[in-house]
Symmetry: C2
Subunit: 422 residues, 2 copies
């Protein structure tokens, strides 16, 4: 017959198994960040290749394709580590695996996209969209990884990492948009609006990142913002975004812009790398701690077992109904099993509460994205138009963005059927 | 090398494993409901035994203790089914196991409580508190079981079951309070307030139950409300709750009240039994369906595999960014892997969204309970006073109860240190 002690130990073992899985998932996040960075670079070089005819770009692109393939190999190796056949505990395994399946489909289609680029068989905008879609599929993997963490501290780091990566992806899209605007040599209203939208989207992501990241990550990020590249970027943003519609832009700025942005993105990658490495390390530390705790608990239990384990005497009924202050930490062999059970319950409950508040951020993101998707489909708006609509409604009504997004989803059934986009 | 197909199948297998675990958890919920019902009856009979000196009550209590022990054995058998040593997927295993450990401690202490009752060594109120604490520990197990479900339909049923059981527990506490009030032969303000609080608490629980239950459960519950016992209960509630403080109450009504309440609780048990049985059955059906789906998917995959599985051609990049309408259901061997991956992703996402809204209800409950606990500890209020404070603040400010509770938790650090209760 299983005793309370068995379940006390089983609860601890569950935590350990969750951390073991999270360690594998974190390793996957690290590899995903590398792969995304390589794809972002290939996207940029592909645009330059499609835009100019420069042989130099072709060679650089070829080299970057090799780097990308190597990163994809490492990413696939991280997948191999996941226990997909066993019955292991993975937070939201079904959703995570499903996202991985989708990303693998994207990687499988990449050679075809590259071939069309090599033959200059598609416009730069379409190439950008293709790479961005693949990156989005990979970001989906990171999102589910973040959503699977059951430890609040690790969950915070994952949320910070996801938002940093997403912010960097908007930076990459801004690089492409700006390069395209300068390359065409004339200011155009739609591109300028998209550009401004991408700047704003980055800032929103970095705000969330700063809310959840640890001080050393925020410091590393601030070091990125202080660099000379940033001043150059702001100058070129001003030129590109404020140029009167139809006015001429210096095509040569395309390359200047691209290089400044690339310098910034490489600096951002170092923050990303640090986040991902810290995540893996924190996981390992937590795992070590949890294993040590289990061992110590086993010792306490051995001592307690001699005093009829599931017979807490009248203590169960006498204890005050309110939680007591946290008992002192350390080996106390004389402690009752009941004390240990209660301490563990309170600790788990506190973790669950903290986790819920971290997850709320992910959830808000999901709600806003879905509301945008709905507006895009039903009112055939672009992503930035949909976002602007939500934001203006929120400002007008003095509400939070997420509240307006929720209202949009709630009225979904009242909206007209989706209209095919022209 | 694992392909997208492997992950597609792995995602489905995760769902199946989750359902398998949920089936075991549901069986545990069913056994918990039985045990709680037996304990509620023993609590009532123990009070009658402590109150009167009637030998009949003693014999009935002895018989009920046997029934309770048998239910406890069946509950322990359900625990044996849980795979606590393996690495199996259980939603929130750590919290669930921790709650079970606590409940086992309570069951271990039960013989001691009974001994003191047999020797009439404690007041009825204290006996009631002891049994109620044990029931609360068991309700904690049901709560975590409800919080572990990853299927929205099953989660709804679990939320309905939890709230019905909790409502029934308030009914049991009302039975004890009313019996005590009549037995002492005089109306007392504190008991009347508690009584009214318990009536209100029941109603809140049954409202949530009705929001989440299926029509046949609601119909079964309405049949309970229509019985003759209910009219008798309302008459006695009126007498007991509106009697001027200090006025005399007919002691004989204690037994009348107890019997009417017991009849009602037995009727409620039939609803509870049906809920728990339907939960187990629904789990089995879902599991069967998921296994059939996996088999069908395996067939489709076999067909698809011949067309280079991870090479979706340009489809990955060409597909519209918006979700398409759900593809038709049924075996379509010609379907692409990409289609299957996307369909699965959308299905899982829709499930996650629905689940999030069901879970929100559990979360609100947690927040209100924690805010009450905080007020009880810091302002040494009783549970019903704490609830009244929250409710009156909410009404005064035109806010929801949960918003006020959140505000209370947010100011927790501003509150004075807990004062030991007198």
């Amino acid at each position: 017959m299983k005793s309370g002690l068995n379940f006390l130990v089983a609860a601890r073992r569950c935590e350990i198994r969750e951390l073991e899985q999270l360690l594998l998932t974190s390793e996957l996040v690290r590899r995903t960040a590398e792969l995304v960075h390589a794809l972002q670079k290939e996207r940029g070089l592909s645009n330059l290749y499609l835009g100019g005819g420069d042989a130099e770009f072709g060679a650089q692109r070829g080299k970057q394709m090799g780097a990308c393939d190597a990163a994809a190999e490492r990413w696939r190796s991280a997948l191999e580590q996941l226990d997909i056949d066993g019955a292991s505990t993975i937070g939201n395994g079904a959703r995570l695996f499903s996202r991985i399946a989708y990303a693998l489909q994207g990687l499988g289609a990449l050679p075809l996209l590259r071939e069309r680029i090599t033959q200059r068989g598609l416009p730069a905008a379409e190439s950008t969209r293709g790479f961005s879609r693949l990156v989005a599929a990979l970001m989906g993997v990171v999102f589910e990884a973040a959503d699977s963490a059951s430890d609040p501290e690790l969950s915070r780091l994952l949320v910070a990492t996801f938002h940093f990566m997403q912010g960097k992806e908007f930076t990459g899209q801004e690089r492409a948009t700006g390069a395209g605007t300068f390359a065409q040599g004339a200011a155009e209203i739609q591109q300028q609006q998209l550009w401004l939208h991408l700047i704003e989207s980055q800032e929103r992501c970095f705000t969330v990142f700063a809310d959840f990241a640890e001080p050393q990550h925020i410091a590393a990020w601030q070091a990125c913002l202080g660099g000379g590249a940033m001043a150059e970027i702001e100058r070129l943003r001003r030129i590109g975004c404020t140029a009167p519609v139809g006015s001429t832009l210096d095509r040569a700025l395309s390359r200047t812009w691209f290089d400044a942005c690339s310098e910034r993105m490489d600096a951002m990658q170092s923050v990303e790398t640090r986040l991902a490495a810290d995540l893996v390390q924190r996981c390992q530390e937590k795992l070590q701690q949890a294993r040590a705790d289990l061992e110590q608990q086993a010792m306490q239990l051995k001592a307690a077992q001699s005093l009829a384990a599931d017979n807490p005497g009248s203590a169960f009924f006498d204890q005050p109904a309110q939680r007591r202050d946290a008992p002192p930490i350390g080996p106390q062999l004389g402690r009752s099993v009941l004390d240990m059970v209660q301490e563990q319950s309170h600790r788990l409950q506190a973790m669950a509460d903290e986790l819920a508040s971290v997850r709320a951020t992910l959830n808000e993101r999901k709600i806003v994205e879905r509301a945008k998707g709905l507006l895009m489909a039903h009112r055939h708006l672009s992503e930035e138009e949909a976002h602007k609509t939500l934001r203006q409604t929120a400002m007008g009504q003095g509400k939070r963005l997420v509240d307006v997004a929720e209202a949009v989803l709630a009225m979904a059934e009242l909206l007209p059927a989706p209209v095919a986009r022209r």
